[in-house]
C-alpha cells in the first residue's frame, strides 16, 4: 500500500464514522454548529496523529515492544490520556469559548474508540511515518464526517453556518425563498439522531449501488471470457 492510499482510506473507504460507526457520541453531541465540529476535528487530529506516532515509536523498538506487550492497552491509554490533557489545557488557555462549548467531550476523547482502535490495529504494527499518515487520514475522515453532519444540522436548524468566531454565513434567504422557517428541532438532540440516520442511509444506498455495478461488470467480464 503506498502512502496516498494509506492517507485516503481513512477519508473514504474506511471512514471511521460513516463506514465503521466509531465515535458516535462526539459526532452527535458537538455537531450543533460547524465551529464546534471544526474544533473537535482539530483536537482529534492532534491526539490521533501524535498517539499513533508515539505508539508506533514504542512498538518499533524491539526492546521496548517486548517490555510493553503484556500491558499494552494501559500503556496506550496513558499515552492517549496525556495527549488529551495537553489538548484540554491548550484549549482552555487559547480557545476559551470553544473549550466551554465542547465541554465534557474534550476529556472524553480518551475513550473515543477511533483512537485506541488505530493504536491497536495500525500503529502497533507499522512504521512511525506510515502511522502518522494513517492517523492524519483517519482523523480528517472523522472531521469530514462530523462537519457534514454539523452543516446539515446548523443549516436546517438555524439557517446559519458558523465557520469560526464571527465568521458566519447567513443562508436564511433559501428558507425565505421556500416560504418556510428553519426547523429548530435540528439543533436539539432529536435532530442529531435524524441527521446522522439519514446520512448513513444515503451512504448505504450509494455503496449498495456501486457494489451492484461492480458485480455486473464482473459478470460481463466472465461472460466475455
Amino acid at each position: 500500500m503506498n502512502k496516498k492510499d494509506n492517507f485516503l482510506k481513512g477519508i473514504l473507504k474506511e471512514n471511521p464514522l460513516f463506514v465503521s460507526l466509531l465515535g458516535m457520541c462526539p459526532s452527535l453531541a458537538v455537531t450543533t454548529s460547524v465551529e464546534n465540529a471544526l474544533g473537535m476535528t482539530v483536537a482529534v487530529v492532534f491526539v490521533l496523529v501524535l498517539s499513533n506516532f508515539i505508539i508506533s515509536l514504542i512498538m518499533s523498538s524491539e526492546k521496548l515492544a517486548a517490555l510493553v506487550k503484556p500491558v499494552r492497552i494501559p500503556v496506550y491509554i496513558v499515552v492517549i490520556a496525556t495527549l488529551v490533557t495537553v489538548v484540554e489545557m491548550l484549549m482552555h488557555a487559547y480557545l476559551i469559548n470553544l473549550y466551554k462549548s465542547l465541554g465534557i467531550f474534550i476529556p472524553l476523547i480518551v475513550v473515543n474508540c477511533i483512537i485506541l482502535g488505530r493504536a491497536e490495529a495500525f500503529a502497533s504494527e507499522n512504521k512511525p511515518v506510515d502511522s502518522i499518515i494513517d492517523g492524519l487520514g483517519m482523523a480528517l475522515g472523522f472531521g469530514v464526517a462530523i462537519v457534514t453532519v454539523s452543516i446539515f444540522r446548523e443549516f436546517l436548524g438555524t439557517g446559519l453556518l458558523t465557520i469560526w468566531g464571527n465568521l458566519q454565513i447567513n443562508l436564511n434567504f433559501i428558507f425565505d425563498f421556500l416560504r418556510m422557517s428553519p426547523v429548530g428541532m435540528f439543533t436539539q438532540p432529536a435532530g442529531a439522531f435524524i441527521s446522522l440516520g439519514f446520512i448513513l442511509a444515503v451512504i448505504a444506498a450509494v455503496s449498495a449501488k456501486r457494489q451492484e455495478k461492480q458485480l455486473k461488470q464482473a459478470k460481463e467480464v466472465k461472460a466475455n471470457v
Partner: protein, 195 residues
Amino acid sequence: MSDLIALAFSAFILQNIILTQFLGICPFIGVSTKRSSALGMGLAVIFVMLISSSVTWLLYNFVLVEFEITYLRTIVFILVIAALVQMVETFLKKVAPPLYKALGIYLPLITTNCAILGVAVLNITNEHTFVEMLVYTTFIGIGFLFVIYIFSMMREKLDHAPVPKAFKGAPIALIVAAVLAIIFTRFGGLIEWIL
C-alpha cells in the same frame, strides 16, 4: 430533600444520559438488539458507574485537590476506571458467580464506555457533594437502563418491519432513537412545569 428529588428527576429524564447528553451511544446502538442483553448491559452500567463515580469522587476531592494536581484528572480517572472494572470482574467471578454470569460479558465493554468516564467527570464539573453524587449517578444509571430497554423492545419489532433496504440496521435505529428523544424532551418539559 426537595433539591435531591429535583436532581434525581433531572438526571433521569431532563438530562437523560443517552438521549440528551449523547453519552454511551455505542452500547445503545450495539447491544440493544435483544431485550435480555439490553437489561444485562443496563444493570452492569449502573453497577460500575456507582462504584467508579464514588471512587473517582473521593480520589479527586481528597487526593488530587489536596496535592494541587487536578490537571491529572483525565489520566487518573481513566486508569482508575480501567483497573476497577478489572477488579470488579475478578471479584464477581469469585464471590457471586450467578451475577458474574449475568453481567460478565458486558464488563470488559464498559471500560471504553464513555458514559462511565463522562459521569465521573460530570460529578466533578457540576461540583456535587457526596450525597448529590450518589443520587445523580444512580438516576443517570437508571435512565440509561430505562432508555436502552425501551429501545431494545422497539428494535425487536423493527426486525420484522418492512424497512427500505438502505435504512436497514443503524440508520433506522438512529431515526427511532430520534423519536424517543423527542418524547423525552417533551416529557421533560412536563416535569419542569410540575416542579
